[in-house]
Amino acid sequence: MYNLLIGGAAGQGIETTAAILEKFLKRSGYHVLTIRDFMSRVRGGHNFSLIRFGTEPIRSHSDRLDGIIALDDETVHEHRDQLNETGFILGDSKLSATDDRLIKVDMAGMAKELGNPRVSGIIAVGILLKMFGETLDGAEDVLGTFVKQQYLQINQKALEQGYAIAEKRYEHLDGKYSGWMLISGNHAVALGAVAAGLRFYSAYPMSPSTSILETLAALGDEAGVVVEQAEDEIAAINMAIGASYAGARAMTGTSGGGFSLMVEALGLSGMAEIPLVVIDVQRPGPVTGLPTRTEQSDLRFVISASQGEFPRMVIALRNQEDAFYQTMRAFHLAEAYQIPVILLSDQYLGDATATVEPFDPTRIRVADPASSYDGEDEYLRYRYSEDGISPRLIPGKTKHLVAIDSDEHDERGWITESAEVRTKMVDKRMKKIEGFRRELLEPDMIGPEDFDTLLLGWGSTWGPIAEAVRLLNQKGQGRYAALVFGDVYPLPQKLLKEKAAQAKRLINVEQNATGQLAGLIREETGIVCTDSVLKYDGRQISAEEIAARIRKEGAK
């Protein structure tokens, strides 16, 4: 397994360099995981991508580096301490930094000679491919994905020149992943939505959710999806609800700040029982916080967002595969129960690309609008029923009229002030929870059955936690296992209760300051975590850090 860091200022093309390199590596058979760490600015500052690759599945990033590709001096200064003794730093000749491990190449000069200073990153890719014993097979195809047609040739040349001047340093290892996908969490969400029959996506740009909007915009014409940039997030969610009411499967996406503005309308979906999928790609708050960084601090917020009470589901995405399938499932649940379903992702998962088995869009069946209406009696949009689910017709599709109201309403959808109807309607809505409680997915159990310490996590820390369990069991004294939640609200309790009963120590590992999952578990089950590992500096915790903190101090 190798771990490379590509660093430089915003605007130096780190992202494209990393994207091209990782694609080459994956295509040659490696399992690849790339995470992206960047600042909230367009030019300057310090950004980096971490590319980890090997022949075995990689679930977590690592802070220990085998190589650094430094587009500026800051990268060397910031990261040299993470570099292995035997590692290398590839830098431009004009860097002033010095280090025994630094290989300077006049990439800027070469790029200028080639006629475009912006291709020096591609020269670096060429050098790296050679160093790692790769070939340039399929280069045209890879470059074609990221580079405009008119620049293809010069990039190809740059790649070849880099390749030519470098020397092989590592052996190519044979992996079996060349036919797998390399995809980020956000892209996987977009694909999952389309697979589920998305017809309408409205959103307002907001990091780190914007790439969902952009991915859908890029494929919307072909896929028959209207992708609309709203004037604000309030409009975004109300549009999605309007479209869904009218029969177009709909979704909106944002980050916490935008979600805050969607809170009222979330309740409209709940009250009017209009299916809706909302994704919150979390970033550190409060408010603007650290716009391009990661955190898991919206859990409690989204669970109780909006005045009053109504059923909802919250699903945390744990990895890129989850991102696809759980997005599909979210549409299913929203439709089957006529509820809002909230997906929680975060910047770490949203921007990180991982190697996953090609998605199977037929694996999840998405329900059609519930139409238990047999056409005999009067059509009642909110008919009382055993399971709380009422027949949903699409306006204009039959001669029956579909009335919805954000006021409390009777079975026909008309305003009521009756205490009796009110109580029955609340009960009807709440009854739906019993239904989807039965469909809850238990958390992922990771590690041996005979553990004594149980780690608890949710969402994107899945990878780091899984890897940490492995590390801890390698050289720790105890036996470690973990439960990582995907479905998080309502909280699935079976496995948790079973495993918690067996654990001597229970440690919640969360990317927030207050231990939100631990609180939810206390409320729902009475189970109390004995320790916790919390991180809230905007950087995703690594497996090593989890392991170290658990080993050292028995957690904070």
């Binding site: 028959g224 309030i234 109300n238 009218a246 009222e264 579909v402």
Partner: protein, 283 residues
């Protein structure tokens, strides 16, 4: 004139309220246009005017205060076969919903927006709305309203609306005609309807409006934007009613690559072959 198709229900409005006339005109307009209830969607926010969808035999969407437009335009995007009409208040449309007002004009989606403009917040029992006149004393504006009233027609024209009209509940035939024109217009059509609120607006009464309004006649050139803005500014001793501005413009549906393909959005399916291609593009 029959209103059987879009038949009447009991309302919660005050006797004498201008809303009754708007409701009647709306039903009449729809009937005269030969619409079927099931092809009509009447959407609203929250307020007295916003109860309109509850009182007409059509599909009804009573969403959130201020948020009628985004839901309504999206419903139209989802199913272009629906005749989408927004009937809601001045507070709803221009206050809480002001941002959606200006930006949906820019989208130019084919809906009709009928604002019951009583220059007051009715349902919350009488506070100044964005269109309240200067000096109006209320429980909140205790020294009289001193914010410059919004001129909805003028703002709509300034934002690029292609159909902007002003109506009055006292001019029934004209109001029906304005509604029909607005519904027939391809694109976003605003009719700001002067509507007396007998309970809370003791300034802008039926008589107040009636003494001031005059119908624009044939001689008025509704296609001249500069003149229309001038005309819209007129809101004092004289208040012109009728179509203030008219311009043909391409609609959202005509411009959107997805929607111009002819199949209503809700009837489209995701092509499995496309899904395969998309997945393959990440390999």
């Amino acid at each position: 004139m029959s209103t059987e198709t879009f038949c009447t229900y009991e309302t919660a409005w005050c006797p004498g309220c201008g809303n009754f006339m708007i409701l009647e005109c709306l039903k009449t307009a729809l009937e005269q246009m030969g619409k079927e209830p099931s092809e009509v969607l009447v959407a609203a926010g929250i307020g007295q005017a916003a109860k309109t969808p509850q009182y007409i035999n059509a599909n009804a969407f009573c969403g959130l205060h201020g948020r009628a437009l985004p839901a309504a335009v999206a419903a139209k995007m989802a199913n272009e076969k629906l005749t989408v009409i927004v009937n809601t208040g001045d507070g709803d449309s221009y206050g809480e919903g002001g941002n959606h007002f200006i930006h949906n004009i820019r989208r130019n989606i084919d809906i009709a927006h009928f604002v019951h403009d009583n220059q007051i917040y009715g349902l919350t029992k009488g506070q100044a709305s964005p269109t309240s006149v200067i000096g109006l004393v209320t429980g909140v504006q205790t020294d009289g309203n001193f914010n410059e009233p919004l001129n909805p027609a003028l703002v709509a024209i300034a934002c690029g609306a292609g159909f902007v009209a002003r109506g009055f509940t006292g001019h029934k035939e004209q109001l029906i005609s304005l509604m029909k024109q607005a519904i027939a217009y391809q694109g976003y059509a605003l009719v700001d309807i002067l509507q007396p609120c007998v309970s809370f607006n003791k300034t802008n009464t039926f008589a107040w409006y009636n003494a001031r309004v005059y119908e624009l006649d044939e001689s008025y050139d509704r296609q001249n934007k500069a003149a229309a803005m001038q005309k819209a500014l007129e809101f004092g001793d004289k208040i012109p009613i009728g179509v203030l501005y008219h311009e043909e413009k391409s609609t959202y549906h005509q411009k959107s690559e997805v929607l111009k393909q002819g199949v209503p959005l809700l009837d489209r399916k995701t092509d499995p072959a496309l899904m395969k291609r998309l997945i393959a593009s990440y390999i």
